[in-house]
Amino acid sequence: MNKTWLKWAAVSTPALIALGCATYPDQATTRQVAEKMVSEDFTAPTPALLKRLVQDRSQQVCSKIGDAKLTQEEAAEVVKLARDSIRYPAAGKLVGDWKVGEKLALDGAGDRIQGGILEKRKENGGLCQNCHALAPGEINVGNVGPSLTGYGLQRGNSEAIAKLTYERIYNGWAYAPCSNMPRLGATGHLTPEQISHMVAYLIDPQSPVNTK
């Protein structure tokens, strides 16, 4: 035990001398250190799934630390990348079936990885209700995003509203760069058809979201 203590003292003395000299690393060094950790500290059932950790350009720009603000140039770049990313359903129909959309909106599952296994389902859930209030009276709703109760009542269901709603779900950063809202279509979490059903759930007058 004494020997261990001596070894400790020998190692820790220089460390103690260094005490007080420690400084924050510069941003580039921190980034390098942290990115190396990310590349080494996760596992996945297939190498392709590890790519989820790799940031695209927009995610890099949108990872500002603390209260740091986007510059105008950065915001414009994110908006442009978002605009260019948006794809529409093959049939061109932006408003689908609200009943299908409802099921999706309440579904928070799909594509998670645990115990070396990817959660495989026919399709991913839309995750909407995790963060947004939707149909009035439903209690089990999150509030990370704004309430969407009465969305269609307030905005109507014109073609313009349908397109705006579709685009805000597919890639909301085209309108609010770096907002907390996931780019559900652009990142591949949802398909264009799924999003069209969610649009219907939000704007269809028959949808529970728009119950008066």
Binding site: M37, D41, Q59, G66
Partner: protein, 271 residues
């Protein structure tokens, strides 16, 4: 007669406590607060402390040794206040370590356990009897109960770890575009009915750093900070965080340092 008086006093105290709680609930507008309070007062996690204590002193592993010589930073076997200073730099491993990674070091070096075997079992299945690591982590942390978090960044590697943790807290990736801050950057936020702690706020982050390990009601087991982090990454649809990895220690260092001053009170109680 004195006994009767006592019970009346006790009843009065309970009533007063209830009256006290009711306006508080009305004020915060949180109908779940009362239920949470009731659960926290009768915490099954307490049972894990005794088990952790037994495991700590028992001679175990291929080297038939206890953990009594394990140094958590204040000297071999010194547990009082040790977790208030974690994560910290350890010269013998030349690494910044949190409680769980340090415990791993000792279980491997002193007791001769196989590292991969411990890591595989570290996070127990829901509804099980819990893992040795979970019980030990709770016991060791409980020896700092009532003491204030006091993490230091005096070593360069501690600074580097802290800054990496900060970077990671804000690093967005994956198909949900989430970093930690998307859910934990605001006050009074919830994912469905689950409260999200406001971690960019001093009080919020202090709640985080002082209540893990915690008894998780939905899982019927004690969960540790390592579990908490890995579960977040799971919900974010990211690959699996390696137990006791640098990413986990960086995030823990970032949170713990900011939570300095918080009084440790474990086991916490979570939904």
């Amino acid at each position: 007669m004195p006994r009767k008086q006592n019970s009346i006093t006790a009843l009065a105290v309970v009533c007063l406590a209830t009256w006290g709680a009711a306006p508080a609930m009305a004020q915060s507008g949180d109908p779940l607060a009362v239920g949470r309070q009731m659960l926290a007062e009768d915490n099954p996690g307490e049972l894990w402390i005794e088990r952790g204590k037994t495991l700590f002193h028992q001679k175990r592993g291929p080297q038939d040794a206890s953990l009594e010589q394990c140094d958590f930073g204040l000297g071999p076997g010194k547990l009082e206040g040790a977790t208030t200073r974690l994560p910290r730099y350890f010269p013998d491993t030349d690494r910044v370590q949190d409680l769980e990674s340090r415990l791993l070091t000792c279980m491997v070096q002193l007791q001769g356990f196989n590292r991969d075997d411990i890591v595989k079992r570290a996070i127990s299945p829901a509804g099980s009897n819990g893992s040795d690591v979970e019980a030990l982590t709770l016991y060791i942390t409980s020896r700092s109960n009532g003491m204030k978090m006091n993490v230091s960044l005096s070593h360069q590697k501690e600074y580097d770890m802290y800054k990496a943790g900060e970077y990671l807290f804000y690093r967005r990736s994956g198909q949900t575009d989430f970093a930690c801050v998307q859910c934990h950057g605001g006050a009074n936020k919830r994912i469905r009915l689950q409260d999200l702690i406001h971690m960019t706020d001093k009080k919020g982050v202090q709640e985080v750093v002082s209540t893990w390990p915690a008894y998780r009601g939905a899982h019927f087991v004690v969960r540790t900070m390592q579990w908490r982090l890995s579960d977040c990454f799971w919900q974010m649809r990211l690959p699996e965080l390696t137990y006791a990895s640098d990413v986990s220690i960086a995030l823990t260092t970032y949170l713990h340092y900011q939570g300095n001053g918080a009084v440790i009170k474990v086991p916490g109680f979570k939904r």
